[in-house]
Amino acid sequence: MADKVLMKGNEALAEAAILAGCRHYFGYPITPQTEIAAFMAKRMPKIGGTFLQAESEIAAINMVYGAAAAGRRAMTSSSSPGISLKGEGISYIAGCDLPCLIVNVQRGGPGLGGIQPSQSDYFQATRGGGHGDYHLIVIAPASVQEMAELTVKSFDLADKYRMPVMILADGTIGQMMEPVSLDIHVADPVEKPWAVTGTKKEREHNIINSLYLQPDKLEQVNFERFKKYEVVKANEQMAEEFMTDDADVIVTAFGIAARVAKNAVREARKNGIKAGLIRPITLWPFPEKTFGKAAEHAKVIISAELNMGQMVEDIRLSVKDRIPVDLCIRTGGMIMSPGEVYEAIEKADKKIKGGI
Amino acid sequence: MAKLTFKRDNCKGCGLCVDACPKGILEIDAESINLKGHHPVKLVDEEACVGCASCATMCPDCIIKVER
């Protein structure tokens, strides 16, 4: 029986990264994720790893780029405005097909915003974040246990597909404390013959690069990369379904919003409403298969998000607008209460039963 | 006696070697054009070359091999 330890979400993520074999952390302080940097500052020197507080979030992502190019598991963490700074660097990492982990513990935005939790970087994360055609695998933990398990999974996925992975957490999940088991399976390491480690004068030199001045070549590179993304979409969608089998009203939420929504769904069921919850765990690839199935019997979906309505668009795409998709939102650092989600469920249920 | 070998078709006719040569035995060949369309350098007095490698030192394109 695995021992459980009481840990803060941010720290569980950091410990799991080390478990996964990450020995290179480059970061910069920003609320609400500085604990990750502080944790790594203490842990990395003890295990011969690198902790470096970079001069900026931009420098940090470029250090990750270098370490990843050199074949190592490397990561950085930041929060919303810091992730904006990393945009160019993330585009380069994706454009060079390099693996790495980027953690965004979201706060209120836009601009300097606030330090309370939000989910308003959904578009930024799922649409790549930087310039050009590319995707990150985006994973949304909803518990401290998931902060740990999904971090290990993120490194495994990043290496498997040679692409950056983003953990899209929020300040609540980052700060909350829950018991966590660190008995987590790590996949076997993959060979990286493409890495820049020195030719030893035994092979041709490797070049890590995203510049292709010939447009036909750049087009080809983009086509190849998107073929890879199709494989990811086919194989790596993850979602939790809660009481969805016979549900009329399905709430969709990720991260902390999902924890709140689950309570509302339970309450609704007690009161005879056939409610259910789909909790996307991968936001990219979006769990279209799960939504496709749900749309066959559900009559309405409610997207409960901590932003002005972002995931709602992907839900509508997944169900091809066959059924209505409502919004239940708070933003700016406010978190909806179970009561607010319950009201939305009740309203939606009344509309279905009473007709429009 | 020194020997110079030129990668004629990679020469851009920049003239830095001509100015650097202490013996003044290099010239830009105004009469001919190489594959890239430049007037390449020409050694006008092979006997006088002492193999100082001043030309190769200034050449930005590594087209001169100097042997002694």
Binding site: E55, G66, L211 | G15, M58, P60
Partner: protein, 249 residues
């Protein structure tokens, strides 16, 4: 006996630089240093954004193309990942002294054990000749068409002088390549900058005052003279820091 030929760590392909551009000379000096120290097999080079963006095609060692200005950060990532690799960056004045100033300063302050080759030709070549932070007062460029006005644009940035104020860096030297004797001195400096890394001494930066005949609007020969007449008085050559030597004294 071969006195001089293309070094092994310089790939045998034509360089795309303008006729008479000093990039070619400095590329060769870097390659000669790598050959002479026999480090080609463990060297990783970081290319910039600028005319020398395609340096990744020209050196025989493993290469990475970095974002504009970020090469010292990328180099830090590589060096921390694999400290036994010899890591160098090759950057222009936009890359190192404009957008990348923070990365340059902090890599120096951290005494990252890397080698930085800084090509200072007082102009942005690749994008067609705009003003650089190192452009001289009065210098006419595409974005200073009436000559650099210090009232509007301030004064040039002197990297060696600036970095020499920091305790971090091991070695800072400014050289040029506008004559045979200067090229030979530049080679010594560049080789020392690599040697320092091999010996674990720390951050070494060589600022190479270079020419851009095309965007300065003059012949290659005149551009080399312009270095003597205009650049060197503003950017004096010499050693700006040599920690090991100072410690011996």
């Amino acid at each position: 006996m071969v006195v001089m030929e293309r070094p092994h760590s310089l790939v045998d392909i034509p360089l795309h630089y303008c006729p008479g551009c000093t990039h070619g000379i400095v590329h060769r000096l870097v390659a000669e240093a790598i050959d002479e120290l026999d480090i080609e097999g463990r060297t990783i080079g970081i290319a910039p954004v600028g005319c020398s963006v395609m340096a990744y095609d020209y050196f025989n060692c493993d290469m990475i193309e970095a974002a504009h200005g970020r090469a010292p950060a990328v180099a830090t990532g590589v060096k921390r990942a694999n400290p036994d690799n010899i890591v160098f960056t090759y950057q222009g004045d936009g890359d190192l002294a404009s957008i990348g100033t923070a990365e340059t300063v902090h890599a120096a302050a951290r005494n990252e054990n890397i080698t930085v080759i800084f090509i200072n030709n007082a102009i942005y070549g690749m994008t067609g000749g705009q003003m650089a932070p190192t452009s001289l007062p009065g210098q006419v460029t595409q974005t200073s068409p009436y000559g650099r006005d210090v009232k509007l644009c301030g004064y040039p940035v002197k990297i060696c002088e600036m970095l020499s104020q920091l305790e971090g860096p091991e070695y800072l030297e400014r050289v040029t390549v506008n004559s045979v004797s200067n090229v030979r001195k530049a080679k010594k400096a560049i080789k020392k900058a690599f040697q320092n890394q091999v010996e674990g001494k720390g951050f070494s930066l060589i600022e190479v005052v270079s020419s851009c005949p095309t965007n300065w609007g003059m012949s290659p020969k005149d551009a080399l003279k312009w270095i003597d007449d205009n650049m060197i008085p503003y950017y004096p050559l010499g050693v700006y820091k040599d920690r090991s030597k100072e410690a011996e004294a």
